[in-house]
Symmetry: C2
Subunit: 66 residues, 2 copies
DNA sequence: CATGAATATCAAAAATACTTTACATTTGGT
DNA sequence: ACCAAATGTAAAGTATTTTTGATATTCATG
């Protein structure tokens, strides 16, 4: 799973902490998802997609081996 | 999180076991996701969406309290 | 260079997702 | 009614996600 959260955040110009607040998780959770350390639940992915006004598929993408 | 996996399966006319095989999880995993017992990871949601040729948002939907 | 804001990282615990095995129930066809 | 296929459920165990708290690093700017 790769993602372009950093880009999406840049477009909306919000910090990891602000995104965390918007979707009600810790800022570490945002950080570790953004850096690809783990895959979020569908609930989190949907919330992020909603924040950015994008489809999940525009933010998260499957890779070889997923 | 609610989902319409049952409908999607009906459209493609595949069983829970077949869907499980297609996305490489156990049949029980498909069953419990379908019956709303837990929320799949984004990897699984993406794989399911791909199987059905739909966006995740067309299959999974946030509810109050998610 | 110093300061503050943002990001990265680490470790340990809690919560949730997923597997396996096994059995029960429902459903559809003959 | 009978049979087989599909679905539901349960318990126990493993794996992964998420939180919390704390510290470290990066980066822009004064």
């Amino acid at each position: 799973m790769k993602n372009n959260l950093r880009v999406q955040r840049a477009i909306k110009n919000i910090t990891q902490a602000e995104l965390a607040e918007l979707i009600q998780v810790s800022r570490q959770t945002v950080n570790t998802i953004e850096s690809g350390k783990y895959v979020p639940s569908t609930v989190l992915a949907l919330k992020m997609a909603r924040v950015f006004g994008k489809a999940i598929e525009e933010i998260f993408e499957l890779e070889e081996g997923d």
